[in-house]
Amino acid sequence: MRKTTIAILFILATMVALQVACRKADSVSPDDNPDSEWLSGGSQTAFDEGGGAFSHAFATLPANLLRVHEIGDGQFNATFVSAPAPLNPGLGPIFNNVACSSCHVSDGRGKVPGLGESAANMLFRLSIPGEGEHGNPVPVPGYGDQLQTRALLGKTREGDIAITYTETTYKFADGATYKLRAPTYTFTALYTAMPGNVMLSPRVAAPVFGLGLLEAITDGTILANADPDDADGDGISGKANMVWDVLKNKKVLGRFGWKANQPSLLQQVAAAYNGDIGITNSLFPKESSEGQTQFDSDPNSKSYELTDSLLHSVQFYVRTLSVPARRNAADNKVIAGKGLFRSAGCIKCHKADIRTGVDVSLPQVSNQLIHPYTDLLLHDMGAGLADNRPDFMASGTEWRTAPLWGIGLTQKVNGHTNFLHDGRARNIIEAIMWHGGEAASAKNKVNNMSKTERDALVAFVESL
């Protein structure tokens, strides 16, 4: 060995020795090993537990790619206005919000409206019974497949939704009580008649960090966990959604959205621009209002309102947002909670460890052991959570397992703890107790836990 090598080894050994020598149980650091459970996003993990925790670019992006990320960041925050305008024209004519970041506040989770507030961070999917040519939900005549609750001045919004909650008190086995609020949605201010058989599905904006890593999981890895007929008899099925890919012009595995109804980040982003902001693009070149009375055949609509380069920059932006590291993973209470999370069976759907595939176009997301706490599969969640609106292969009671990584930072980043697809749960324990269907057994185990155990379970989830 050359002397320099020996010197370097000596320094390294000393550093390791120092680290080991002064480590206590509560000071386990995230460098234990590269696959450490602390590193929720593998090597693309960010160490920030503050308000900006969801907004960090991959630390390993070279300068040129970081610049693309920044351009996408600017575009994600860009406020659209009505055309013609020199800057960001094309908003509407009907829309849900004016910028990506208006709903995905700080790249995080949307808040459900308070009493009397408009549903600003939520949107409502609509369809009528039946299946479209690709197995897709059938759009509602005059409305399309989502309710646009806002419109440009001088245009008419499609309508709005009033939300009311009915609160019911329940008891854990130990006698302690908890309350769940069940939402009721009522159409208001509709611009034209809504068919009586319309199906409505409320959705809060989901966090957008870590999506590039989820996209890098191979279909094979996801499908390996699928068990649609519960062949192993453990009570948990796990079904892949198969959805329409606009560019590939065929059905592929769905993995994004509350019902896994979007196949790729590009299509997710393009659909959101089109449906939520009224911005046309190469994947969705028609205004969402086309065919409706308020559609204005503006000459602008002959070309796309969003260039491909900006569309791709936003795709790249969400693809390269890193995942916050866990906190307090070595805390005894958290460790106890982790055991309970496993023994209750939560872990069967909220999968802790997944390895991403290799994508030569972006080594940063390749071959990472990540801890998303999702299997990206559909599960029957029971009647309580059902929206009763099928979406491709997803039935009216099925939802895609939500990733839990970063969930404990929701209060910090977004100032609230509204969880589940419609934000009805006001904290983590409520979200757990809403679980039904395949998750009923796990829920019942939580129901039978002592308060100490429930607290530990929540502490674990909050550490994610």
Binding site: Q19, S29, G50, G52, N77, V98, S101, V105
Partner: protein
């Protein structure tokens, strides 16, 4: 303008890990250190952050008074006064963007008061409509139709050369309503801080639900300081510069952009020194107690950034075309400041507050 804080943590991580490893032996971790950390957080939360929102609320009320006077006696003097008052609020707001966290973000106040661009078509539609223009009406409008920039547009006009005689009656009504809405939102931020968030930050690690450790509070502050550099250098300056497009400028009607950027950077020093309305304990004090060279480096990089911005002597929309090397230099100096804050100050604070 919506904010996007983004700094790479590549450099911070390894240093952080070293910092985490041997905290017990850290001589900084004594009682005095603990007192100083508490004093710094108390001063920053009350006398920098909360004080800035108090100041902004007071200044929005002054603007409202000036707009009322302008609407009663519409002359160029009163228009000039209203413009001065608008710029005064901007001074405070832009400085406060160096501590853009907490209620102003989580309550979505930022986009409601500082969205760019203005929706000109909608603005014209409103002015030509018969809608009653009051605060409630403004509150229901989209973000691109309220806050600083529509007010700026009405006070200065598209080319910045508006005279009082050109102010139409509907514009005056809209101006009054916009200003009243700005007063309301400023009060909301002020109240959110004084009625709770100030204490949350001050009591970090001592019962605060928002900041369970003092370290989390210091890291939040350091991230915000570095974050505003990133926004100014990588977005506010760079996007119009790269595109060579004056339309991308932040405060184009008042030609106030360089002042805005300078105040963004000044805010960094304000929170670093714990000095806004009054002078108190700041991040500076913890740095100076341990690392005088880091303190000197931060201050010299900060001064260089301010000087580089000061060297741009044309309105920003012109400077991106005719003073390119000066604009480039400002971006470089601000990025250098960001690097010190991100790769030196933040790891220092992580270790010091462990």
């Amino acid at each position: 303008m919506n904010t996007f804080i983004k700094r790479s943590l590549a450099v911070v991580l390894p240093l952080t890990l070293l910092g985490l490893s041997c905290s017990k032996n850290n001589p900084d971790n004594n009682a005095d250190n603990s007192t100083l950390k508490t004093e710094v957080l108390a001063n920053i939360s009350a006398n920098v952050c909360a004080a800035s929102y108090e100041d902004m609320y007071a200044k929005t009320q002054e603007l409202q008074a000036a707009v009322t006077a302008l609407n009663i006696t519409t002359n160029d003097d009163n228009l000039a006064t209203a413009r001065v008052k608008w710029k005064a609020i901007r001074t405070t707001w832009e400085q406060s963007e160096a501590w853009l966290f907490g209620p102003v973000e989580s309550e979505n106040i930022d986009p409601r008061i500082d969205t760019w661009p203005v929706d000109f078509n909608a603005l014209e539609t409103i002015l030509n409509s018969n809608d009653v223009l009051n605060e409630a009406y403004v509150d229901g409008l989209d973000d691109a139709l309220k806050g600083f920039h529509p007010i700026e547009y009405l006070l200065w006009g598209q080319n910045g050369a508006k005279t009082a005689a050109q102010l139409k009656p509907r514009e005056k009504d809209f101006l009054a309503a916009l200003t009243q809405n700005l007063v309301k939102l400023s009060k909301e931020v002020r109240d959110n801080w004084t009625n709770g968030y100030t204490a949350q930050l001050a009591n970090a690690g001592k019962g605060s639900g928002e900041f369970t450790t003092q370290q989390a509070a210091f890291v939040q502050i350091a991230d915000a300081m570095a974050g505003i550099c990133g926004e100014v250098a990588d977005s506010k300056l760079k996007e119009p510069f790269d595109a060579q497009d004056p339309m991308l400028e932040e405060s184009p009607f008042a030609k106030n952009s360089i002042t805005d950027f300078t105040n963004n950077i000044k805010g960094i020093l304000a929170i670093y020194q714990g000095r806004f309305a009054a002078d108190g304990k700041g991040i500076e004090d913890v740095v100076r107690a341990n690392n005088l060279s880091l303190d000197a480096e931060i201050k010299s990089k900060h001064a260089a950034a301010i000087a580089a911005l000061g060297a741009i002597d044309k309105p920003f929309g012109e400077a991106i075309v005719s003073e390119q090397s000066k604009v480039q230099n400002a971006m470089t100096k601000i990025t250098e400041l960001a690097e010190v804050l991100d790769s030196k100050l933040k790891p220092f604070l992580v270790q010091y507050t462990k």
